[in-house]
Amino acid sequence: MTEPQNIVTMKGISKAFPGVVALEDVDFALRRGEIHALMGENGAGKSTLIKVLTGVEHPDKGSIELAGKPVQVRSPQHSQELGISTVYQEVNLCTNITVAENIMLGREPRRLGSIHWRKMNELAARAIKRLGIDIDVTRPLGDYSVAIQQMVAIARALEILSARVLILDEPTSSLDIHETNLLFEVMRKLKNEGLGIIFITHFLDQVYQIADRITVLRNGKLIGTFETASLPRVELVAKMLGRTMTDLDAMSKVKFKSEQQQADQAHLVEARGLGRTGSLEPVDLELNMGEVLGVAGLLGSGRTELANLIFGIDAPDTGSLVVQGQRVSRFSPLESLKRGIALCPEDRKAEGVVGDLTIRENIILALQARYGWFKYLNMQKQNEIARQYIELLGIVTPSPEQLVKNLSGGNQQKVILARWLATHPQVLIMDEPTRGIDVGAKAEIQKLVLQLAEEGKSCVFISSELEEVLRISHRIVVLRDRKKAAEYSGEVDDQTIIHTMAGDL
């Protein structure tokens, strides 16, 4: 019947949520010993398909076979017992307990009924070594960077002895190049051991680097499964978007136009020796009207720290910050908001969205913060603003009353952008605004940034994707080891920046 090498076969899977059809008659097959990329825009149904496979959601229709045997995945626990391990997009571990505890949680080796700590630490250390990293497993997970935490999550997933299927949901979005290559090595090794790996990512490069086959979903429907070698990149993108890339082509023109407009005006923001002990060494920085300032740097180079200082999350202990000619003396988000500075934070889930509030409430939150307690926007006005930005940013939702936690990552990011745009900021700082979101939404956000610059606003664009920093920035600041390493005009080539980031220049 079916090819025996298929470890997972999903047939005719359909799943509907209130107001949305998330999956419609989708087939999917994963072979033994292959790395299979699952591609699609936000809301294409990737996450839902994974949730169905891991028992988080139950399909309305369709069947799942595991190694040729029909199964019904009842719960995440059950899927683990069946040998399906998952590492989710956002690290879902506990930062306050040790690395070893995180890896072994729920499977602790026991002796006389209590946990055998020494053995547990040994097992955990071996699991983490398998990934080729060397860390102290007895330290709290929170002591390590997000990248290491991601590795721990993978180690945990692999610890499940009978793992036959490994699902990696955006595993590389917070890893640097070195760490990504490390992960790929591990993936190849596991593949050769006969594991089937489902790899979800938005980085096209990585897909072509490692995936054997690609399955593309769009709007809950299967577009097709392809051998990576026989699917040119342009075609893949076209299949994911259902349209061509003209949007991106148009972008560089907008950039040039606004560059010409930009004359010698007074600086909108001027930082002199702005720094904070233990977080950022003193930096000088100017921001002009109508420009996009790109910030590049490796993980931990001080990118987020810079954003937090300008926005007032942290108060600087050296230097000065002048915004629109006025020296800033009090640092807090509220003060920044009043001065026309906005920040879309790096950690969308923890610092950005308020998941259990509706889209409308999330959008008006910052504006309402500026109005204060007693000038409450009436419902009509709230709806008006919400609808306006849902339309402007193309947020996909059946209604403004949808809870934000039910939206996909890209749409959540747009909600946060909408929250700040509604306050009409002069300066918009965006910390990794396109992390973990799909090509289409990425392009839309980049376009929006340039549009804002054209309207005379100034944007700080922080991203670990060099290519996008280069594409839309008028000037680029490179940070390294919590210091400003260099500043370039937007015409610089990527090699120069990479060398600056690495410290060769």
Binding site: S336, G352, L365, Q368, W373
Partner: protein
């Protein structure tokens, strides 16, 4: 999408579960104690004609708990908890008693002075002092939680323990009886046949409702309770939001203390408002507000408080001795917790969904 089956919409409403719990208790009363619902008119020599009966008792005696539940709702919605409301009630009651005491300032307090129906302090001042004392307590809790960043449970535990001591200090360690007729009006009086306390609850409820639904405070409280960090990043002072919630909770406790001391004609630092914090938490939980904070409904909490008091009155009507009340309440708590567990809800949803569509499509 708009046409969610009516049954489901009703079940999704925050008021569904507390109302259902109330209905079950009332139904039980109707069967076991047919006289439970009788309401008569009594001619009171002091307060004139007014209604009386078990249901009126529920409202009158339950008023302090309802007030405390309103304040507690806001605190819990921010993701905190206030364990000190019982102690705040005692402080407020002690404040009232000590100011009414006509011997205020005298060294010798004789029984003769205490039982004189008079006071040297004007009534408005007494009330003001009551409210100020409770509100200050709330402010203190709020400062500890929002500024000193102490965990709410620990922060309010301080006043929960110390508060009763403060109340005793105020009354000089005595259980102070109150003899001042105008003061009794709050806990015993009637307006148009209904207890005064009912009007006070309605007034405070209205005030709280205006505060959270007609200003942005309600939204901010929910936002803080769901994700304090995101809320802070959005430019909202989560500290001030928390400060306000705790202060308001203290204010509610103060009014509850006023009514309670007026009702029992005395101030007892040890026993006034005993266990009210726990009942209030239970009422709020019954009203569907999560202990982790977030969405809340004031009305649902008040109904939750009503359920607790209806239950209490029911237990008394059945002739269960007072000392067994706590055990009976434990059963209520257990049932509530079971009913509200995710498991039960999922079970109920599935149960209704299997038969629901027939009703749904008929609409």
């Amino acid at each position: 999408m708009k046409h969610t089956p009516v049954l489901k919409r009703i079940r999704d409403s925050r008021l569904f579960w507390p109302l259902a719990a109330w209905a079950i208790i009332l139904l039980f009363d109707a069967i076991v104690e047919p006289g439970f619902f009788q309401i008569g008119i009594m001619d009171d020599p002091v307060y004139g004609g007014h209604l009386y009966g078990n249901l009126i008792d529920v409202f009158n005696n339950g008023a302090p708990l309802m007030l405390v539940a309103i304040g507690m709702t806001l605190v819990i919605a921010t993701g905190g908890v206030d364990l000190s409301v019982g102690a705040v009630i005692a402080i407020s009651a002690a404040m009232g008693a000590v100011l009414i005491n006509p011997a205020l300032g005298n060294e010798l307090i004789t029984n003769e002075i205490l039982t004189r129906d008079a006071t040297n302090t004007p009534l408005p001042l007494i009330i003001l002092a009551d409210l100020a004392a409770g509100t200050l307590c709330g402010l203190w809790n709020g400062l500890l939680v929002s500024r000193a960043r102490i965990q709410p449970m620990v922060a309010t535990l301080i006043l929960m323990v110390a508060g009763r001591g403060i109340a005793q200090l105020i009354t000089n360690g005595q259980i102070m009886t109150i003899y001042y007729t105008p003061y009794f009006w709050f806990g015993n009086g009637y307006i148009l046949g209904l207890p005064v306390s009912v009007y006070i609850v309605a007034l405070v409820f209205l005030l709280a409702w205006l505060l959270v639904r007609k200003t942005s405070i309600g939204l901010f409280i929910e936002s803080v309770g769901i994700n304090a960090k995101s809320t802070y990043y959005s430019g909202i002072s989560e500290k001030n939001v928390k400060l306000l919630a705790y202060t308001f909770c203290g204010f509610c406790g103060a009014i509850a203390g006023l009514i309670l001391s007026s009702y029992v004609h005395s101030a007892d630092g040890n026993n006034n408002g005993l266990n009210y914090e726990l009942d209030a938490i239970l009422a709020v939980v019954m009203g569907g507000t999560l202990m982790t904070g977030g969405r809340f409904s004031l009305l649902a909490s008040v109904i939750g408080a009503m359920v607790i008091w209806t239950f209490t009155v029911t237990v008394y009507t059945l002739g269960v001795p007072a000392n067994a009340l706590l055990a009976a309440k434990a059963v209520l708590v257990m049932v509530v917790i079971l009913l509200y567990s995710d498991y039960t809800r999922r079970f109920m949803n599935r149960f209704f969904e299997r038969r629901g569509p027939r009703h749904g499509t008929a609409n």
